[in-house]
Subunit: 204 residues, 2 copies
Amino acid sequence: MRHQTPVQLPRGRPRSFDVEAAVERAMGVFWSRGYHATALPDLLRATKLSRGSLYAAFGDKHSLFLRALDRYIADALTRMDIELDPRREPVDGLRAYLAGYVDRTSGANGRRGCLLVATAMELAGQDAEAGRRIASFFKAMEARVTDALSGAKAAGKLADGVEPSSAARILVCFLWGLRVVAKTAPTRITSQATVDALLDRFIR
Amino acid sequence: MRHQTPVQLPRGRPRSFDVEAAVERAMGVFWSRGYHATALPDLLRATKLSRGSLYAAFGDKHSLFLRALDRYIADALTRMDIELDPRREPVDGLRAYLAGYVDRTSGANGRRGCLLVATAMELAGQDAEAGRRIASFFKAMEARVTDALSGAKAAGKLADGVEPSSAARILVCFLWGLRVVAKTAPTRITSQATVDALLDRFIR
DNA sequence: TGATATATAGACCAAATGGTCTTTAATTCC
DNA sequence: GGAATTAAAGACCATTTGGTCTATATATCA
């Protein structure tokens, strides 16, 4: 039984902007331009906040970036959890998951890139906080794909000799590479064909 | 028969530093830090040039960057041409080529990253000159891998149903993804195992 | 020797950087 | 109404940015 610390209602004018919406808008800017190329005025324009409000709410540019990155990661994990839901046919789940990648890696979507891959390349080496997040997301992604492949194996859907954990590692590398290649804006046809050809090697 | 335009020897003090060596040193900095995070003093320190000399020789930061990128690309293509030499056993060539990637994507080497992948993510969207170079390198890399796989197919070394051009596209994506994952500094064992597992799916 | 050309060091510059602070207006609770 | 809290606008700040320019020394050729 815990003492109920009296929840002190703030007395003055309440916060009038949506913090999460601001994070999301900031995320959009970092996503399109990268960390270093994003200047403060870009963030102010996107969030429609004043300098004062932004610094009061987030501390500094770097902290805001980390929050945006966390948001991006949370979105990605949520999507994976839906698409790779273990109650689903595992192969269907994998196909749905990969279909999302085809979408995100062709044409203009592809050009926009991926905040995680961009951050991995731009900051993971120098910025420990960012590096930790990249590594942990990578592990989480790999684990989910491994689970999905294990499910497929149990259902007898994997090709002979395919081992879920190493296949998952391959798939994850491949998908991150797709994000890089996507910067050259390949057609949807091409992306789709590449993904299909890979899956053909692993799925029976 | 051409008129021999009289090669006008420069009259004054000759250039006393090695331009290509300077490009190489600059390349190292861009490689480790990325374009935006590299400040002019970093480049002066690395090249041991004065501001004046650097601007006289290269114009501006962006031009120097493009020269460094071109150098990186030339090095990469040279390496590929050696490792994937068509006079070699095609599968041996592929294995040698992939062995190089294992080396460059584990431990500290991996952490350092890849100037091409970093540039793709940081600049390809905004900087047309850089974007062109990325796209053209990507095509060149894909073409060479396709040739190697065609050779392997002719020698009956490809697994059933593997088509050289789509397999090449997969391999290229995978390798670029390895460069991203490398930022989390995986062990050599892990990188090697992943590469081997992928190759097992394509090589008979 | 004199003309030519280059290198270095560093002063210098305007613009942009991330970040702080003050002022004023707004909005809530008591 | 009054205290409390927040937001917006923008002045302000030191530092850093990429880039130019000058002064001086040095090296080459004719």
